[in-house]
């Protein structure tokens, strides 16, 4: 396929577009570099407003809307059916490297018999990409040699597009065959009043040093003053201080805010993997030997239970 044509998956909850989509569009535009077509796919149920919103993203030529009750929740099996129905027209199928995209993209790739390249952080050209391996301790430059490729995009590595345009055409597409296998039984979503972790400008994270769930309130007060999101290390999640979706690291969320404040986090390789691309890193830790100080720009060696209240006061 000589002509580039990219299909970007819109991640949404049938009401609003998730921010990951805007980052994926930026990456897609870099792949196109001015040549070829950019289409979006909205697969869901009763989600016309998502398609309408998607159509106003600058540079989008066409929005494909597949609306079916089988797609009310993004299950890998049925969303794959929807993507496969339109996939043949595209050289690149782009998903966000969120749990949504990571779940579906490889299933789509294998169904098409093509490669999937995970979590790209840089576009070299339409077939060559950079992706971190070994928890971000090495960067691999990889080249796709197949006709088609499925990519997942690391949101923190591409800015989210904010430009709009007068709405592109919305093309409704019907899928005749779905093969539902798994069923959604229940969901328990964390109620977040603060900024979303993966797109926040400031993130304040706590580790085992916080000692309890209650003490996370110390971070929350500061987060509210800074308009920050609250994150955590694996140790804090495993200890039950906060839910698992707070986890920053190789196996949790990857963040790259302007400011990352690590409180009571020693800085294991797996945690560093999730935050080392932050512009400015601040560490607050009792242990001057903690590895976190090797990646931090600024630090305070001290007891977080003394430092945090002072920090809070200094922001007032």
């Amino acid at each position: 396929m000589s002509q580039l044509s990219i299909l970007v998956m819109v991640e949404h909850d049938n009401q609003t577009i998730k921010s990951s989509t805007y980052h994926s569009v930026t990456a897609a535009k870099q792949i196109l570099s001015g040549q070829g077509q950019l289409h979006l796919l909205v697969a869901g149920h009763q989600c016309k407003q998502v398609a309408e919103q998607a159509a106003t993203i600058a540079g989008v030529e066409n929005v494909i809307l597949i609306d079916n009750s089988e797609l009310a929740h993004p299950l890998a099996e049925t969303v794959t059916d929807a993507v496969i129905a339109v996939a043949e027209n595209y050289s690149h199928l782009v998903f966000p490297a969120t749990t949504y995209g990571k779940n579906i993209a490889p299933r789509v790739a294998a169904t098409l018999g093509v490669a999937q390249i995970s979590d790209i952080t840089e576009v070299i050209n339409a077939q060559t990409f950079v992706r971190p391996i070994y928890a971000g301790n090495a960067l691999a430059t990889v080249q796709n040699n197949g006709q088609q490729v499925v990519l997942t995009i690391r949101s923190s590595a591409f800015s989210g597009t904010t430009e709009t345009q007068s709405p592109a055409a919305i093309e409704e597409c019907t899928v005749n065959h779905f093969s539902p296998l798994s069923q959604l039984k229940s969901q328990s979503l964390t109620q977040m009043s603060r900024a979303e972790l993966s797109s926040a400008k400031v993130v304040i994270s706590g580790g085992r040093g916080l000692n309890s769930s209650e003490n996370f309130a110390l971070l929350e007060t500061i987060a509210d003053k800074l308009g920050a999101a609250v994150g955590a290390s694996r140790a804090a999640v495993d200890a039950g201080y906060v839910p698992n979706d707070y986890q920053v690291g190789q196996t949790g969320k990857i963040v790259a805010p302007d400011l990352y404040i690590a409180v009571g986090i020693s800085g294991a390789i797996q945690h560093i993997a999730g935050m080392k691309e932050s512009k400015v890193i601040v560490a607050i830790n009792r242990d001057p030997e903690a590895p976190i100080f090797q990646v931090a720009d600024y630090g305070i060696v001290g007891d977080l239970f003394e430092v945090l209240p002072e920090f809070d006061k200094a922001l007032a």
């Binding site: 299950l75 890998a76 794959t80 749990t99 990571k102 779940n103 993209a105 490889p106 299933r107 790739a109 294998a110 490669a115 999937q116 995970s118 979590d119 992706r131 971190p132 391996i133 070994y134 928890a135 971000g136 301790n137 090495a138 960067l139 691999a140 430059t141 990889v142 080249q143 796709n144 040699n145 197949g146 093969s179 296998l181 798994s182 039984k185 969901q187 328990s188 964390t190 400031v202 694996r234 495993d238 839910p243 698992n244 979706d245 190789q250 196996t251 400011l259 512009k279 601040v282 100080f293 990646v295 931090a296 720009d297 600024y298 305070i300 060696v301 002072e310 920090f311 200094a314 922001l315």
Partner: protein, 251 residues
């Protein structure tokens, strides 16, 4: 129920990797290797299902060079019953889709009811193989599992998703990939390590299988990531830190 668990031999998760000067990869010679942590969780889960009377046989499979036998032995020391090694030449590069295609052949031969894999390998960080295998088998998948319950002919799996948790019901056979919070793997005891040496380990040579690598993705170079300054400025006074952050316009 029969469970197949796929395991991978990777660099130990505590090792700080070094990128080779020629950009061909990372240094693996004389580096401590171990079972991929997510795969260890998968083996532990299979063993717990057997202990709970839900499973009767656990087969572990790995695709690797001869040294992967060690990884399979450690899986059997945790409690797997037997092992299959798909032996490949040391320098043969396989992509996740290749691995999924090879595992598909094992699944066709073994006919397991449940296939467990780790959600990702900590070396290539792909997070693809389980999903690809499920696609090839046209069966249900549940990725990033933090709880698995077996019912008569289905599974209830709780998954870790970005906003929290969700529970799916899956018909069997199904592919499930494990997240860190599924369980805490046990330490293999010395008697179990000894017993594992006597458990059957079947070796299949990849050259005798009906298989050609796809070669769709080529690694051009592997480089060191940009280093951070490494200069941490320490403050005694919180007010001074806050002023500095304000001067940098990050708050």
């Amino acid at each position: 129920m029969k469970i197949l668990v796929a395991v991978k031999r990777v660099i130990d998760h505590n090792v700080k990797v070094r990128v080779k000067a020629d950009g061909s990869g990372v240094e693996l010679a004389n580096v401590k290797m171990a079972i991929n942590p997510f795969d260890e969780i998968a083996v532990e889960e299979a063993v717990r299902l057997k202990e709970a009377g839900k499973a009767n046989e656990i087969v572990v499979v790995s695709i690797g060079d001869n040294s992967a036998q060690e990884t399979l032995r450690s899986a059997m020391a945790i409690g797997a019953d037997r092992a299959i090694l798909i032996q490949r030449p040391h320098d043969l590069v396989l992509e996740p889709l290749d691995i999924a295609r090879l595992l598909q052949q094992v699944v066709i031969a073994e006919q397991p009811d449940l296939i467990l894999l780790g959600k990702q390998a900590i070396d290539n960080d792909c997070n693809q193989t389980g999903q690809m295998l499920a696609a090839l088998l046209k069966c249900a998948q549940a990725t990033f599992a933090s709880s698995i319950e077996v019912e008569s002919s289905s599974l209830q799996v709780t998954r870790e998703i970005d906003g929290g948790l969700e529970t799916l019901s899956l018909p069997l056979p199904a592919v499930v990939t494990t997240d860190l919070r599924l369980n805490e793997p046990r330490y293999a005891t010395l008697p179990n390590i000894m017993k594992a040496k006597k458990k059957p380990l079947e070796i299949q040579d990849i050259s005798e299988m009906n298989f050609t690598p796809l070669g769709q993705v080529k690694i051009l170079t592997v480089t060191e990531p940009k280093k951070r300054s490494g200069q941490c400025t320490l403050f005694d006074d919180v007010n001074a830190l806050v002023s500095e952050l304000q001067a940098k316009e990050v708050i």
